[in-house]
């Protein structure tokens, strides 16, 4: 009987391994939540990208002669206490907050996914260690640890990334570990193992594409969490530093004028909710689309 080499076996393994993505192309436009999410997020991203085209004023330039003005044809959403155009700050704020939130997800996603893969696949001591660190981070309330870390590291965008990475990898590790524990007992992994493929190849070529779906879906919800964390840090004065526009510090500075100029705190809040809704709908739609049939 002729023996089969690992390379000859691989195409068969891959054929059995592709479970999720079938039909995605034909179904995405029939999934209302996905379409709604794409549209909402598309509007926010487009506005952020086209910020110089859709705003007339520099978001940081002050005009102390026209402070705290109501909405008008010149200033669509009025001006703040330093005479800065609120519409410009809102749109440029989208640039800041979206960029930071999207980038903040990258490192936790990679670190958490790799650790989850290793913990789930190897089990034993690797799993014990990973679970130990997960349990430690989970013991801290999300905001308490983020705020404490940003305080220790100092405010600013770079330290927000570090703090979110220290806290954020945990969820990805938990999700991927759980998925791998189930997937590693399936035929295609057993076939790959008996075919003599290396652990590295099994982990990253065969297991990863099949378990990554849940992590991708979670990443969309995670961006919502991150936007909320960034805005909260901004509100507390620990996030993106002034004069860079950020929805959190816009809400905080508007709170002083709540009785007379409610719009200063309200519009940035609505912008956060609108963006978060888009991302949540996208996550919901993705979960529907990527669920194995």
């Amino acid at each position: 009987m002729s023996s089969i080499t690992a390379d000859e076996l691989e195409p068969f393994i891959e054929e059995t391994a592709v479970e999720h993505r079938r039909g995605f192309r034909h179904r995405w436009y029939r999934t209302p939540s996905f379409v709604a999410g794409v549209v909402i997020l598309g509007i926010v991203v487009l506005a952020a990208l086209a910020a110089p085209l859709i705003t007339k004023y520099n978001p940081t330039s002050q005009d102390l002669l026209s402070t705290l003005q109501g909405p008008s044809a010149r200033h669509w959403l009025g001006t703040d206490d330093l005479g800065r155009d609120v519409w410009s700050r809102l749109v440029y704020g989208a640039r800041t907050d979206l960029r930071v939130a999207f980038l903040a997800v990258v490192l936790p996603f990679i670190i958490g996914t790799v650790l989850g893969l290793l913990a789930g696949y190897y089990g034993g001591l690797t799993d014990t260690f990973a679970s130990f660190f997960v349990n430690i981070v989970v013991a801290f309330p999300f905001y308490v640890l983020i705020i404490a870390l940003v305080f220790a590291l100092g405010s600013g965008t770079r330290n927000i990334y570090i703090a979110i990475t220290i806290v954020g990898w945990v969820s990805y590790t938990r999700i991927i570990r759980g998925e791998v524990l189930v997937a590693k007992r399936r035929d295609y992994v057993l076939a790959a193992k008996s075919g003599g493929l290396s652990d590295f190849r099994i982990l990253f070529r065969h297991l990863l594409p099949n378990v990554i779906t849940q992590a991708v879906i979670f990443a969309c919800s995670d961006i919502v969490l991150d936007i909320l964390a960034i805005v909260t840090l901004g509100y507390l004065g620990l996030g993106v530093q002034p004069p860079t526009p950020d929805w959190g510090n816009m809400i905080a500075s508007g709170q002083t004028y709540l009785t007379t100029h409610w719009q200063l705190s309200t519009f940035p809040g609505i912008a956060v909710v609108f963006t978060a809704l888009g991302l949540s709908l996208l996550a919901d739609g993705l979960a529907d689309l990527l669920r194995p049939e």
Partner: protein, 314 residues
């Protein structure tokens, strides 16, 4: 496994986690860029004062000695002294802890009061209009920044709508405290309710499809009674678990909300201490919050084991 054995095992599992938590809290000071004592005290501090603080915190000793001393202090309930108030950080935390605990309890009660009826309506009318509406709540609700919801509630109920509630502070006397806690607790609850609704709806659906509910229905028991006597009772088990799992979210929520409503709890103490660069107090509050969460996880597991004996044999 008896309940005692189960609790004992969970307590043993808690020890390494608590130790890990102390290590992370201890290392926070070493995340401070440059010389922590100099950074925390600021540029105005004299070299003598910097040296004094460095020595008092043991920063001039090897790391393991520093950790050992830190653990020695923590074991004796000494969480360090506040740089701003000049009293023990533990004392400051204890003084403000009741406010935070009341806020957590009241928020949890409000969240359950909002989530249970909505989840029950959604589960009994699965895949019909009321269910679709309720299912949209988590989708929309989870995107609201809690502090912004607090500001909007302040605007509506504190500044307009007959000024029903105070705009901040803790009030005086039991009813004063309660009155001033309603808006903050409602704010935290509105953030937590969407998570509860999602889990509770799922577990209610599972219970409603179980055999004992079918049996109850086949005996001719009314749908209302089935819901009240059978489904909800069982779904409470998962509500307890979901509340326990989300204690971190609940506690984290109070941290920011206390700041919005000027409630003198440990969340506000932490934020104020951050601006006063009072490192020992920030460290103490972080540690207390984490230990509180670990204890609630334990209590949740025990409550779960009491309500559902199958848990002990898993």
């Amino acid at each position: 496994m008896t309940l005692g054995e189960y609790v004992g095992r969970r307590l043993l599992q808690m020890i390494p986690v608590i130790l890990g938590v102390t290590v992370l809290v201890f290392f926070m000071i070493h995340l401070v860029p440059g010389d922590p004592a100099r950074t925390i005290l600021g540029n105005q501090a004299t070299p003598a004062r910097v040296a004094l603080v460095r020595h008092a915190w043991g920063l001039d000793r090897p790391l393991y000695v520093q950790y050992w001393k830190f653990m020695g202090r923590v074991a004796h309930g000494n969480l360090g002294d506040s740089l701003f108030y000049g009293v023990s950080a533990g004392h400051l935390v204890l003084q403000r802890l009741p406010v935070t605990l009341w806020l957590i309890i009241l928020s949890a009660i409000f969240a359950v009061c909002i989530a249970v009826p909505l989840a029950a309506v959604a589960a009994t009318k699965a895949d019909r209009a009321p269910d679709h509406v309720v299912r949209a709540v988590p989708l929309v609700g989870l995107g609201f920044p809690a502090f912004w919801v607090g500001i909007v509630l302040l605007l509506i109920f504190g500044l307009h709508a007959g000024r029903l509630f105070p705009v901040g502070g803790y009030g005086s006397g039991f009813f004063g405290h309660l009155h001033s806690m309603i808006l903050p607790a409602l704010t935290v609850a509105l953030g937590l309710a969407p998570i509860l609704i999602r889990s509770l709806r799922a577990s209610l659906l599972e219970v409603l499809e179980s055999e004992y509910v079918t049996t109850a229905r086949s005996k001719g028991i009314s749908e209302k009674r089935v819901m009240r006597k059978h489904a909800l009772r069982n779904a409470i088990i998962s509500t307890v678990s979901v509340l326990g799992v989300n204690i971190g979210y609940l506690v984290g929520g109070t941290l920011v909300i206390e700041q919005v409503f000027a409630l003198p709890g440990i969340g506000q103490l932490m934020i104020n201490s951050i601006f006063q660069r009072d490192f020992p107090v920030v460290q103490a509050v972080t540690l207390v919050f984490a230990v509180m969460v670990v204890l609630v996880y334990l209590l949740t597991d025990v409550a779960h084991a009491l309500l559902d004996p199958r848990v002990r044999f898993e």
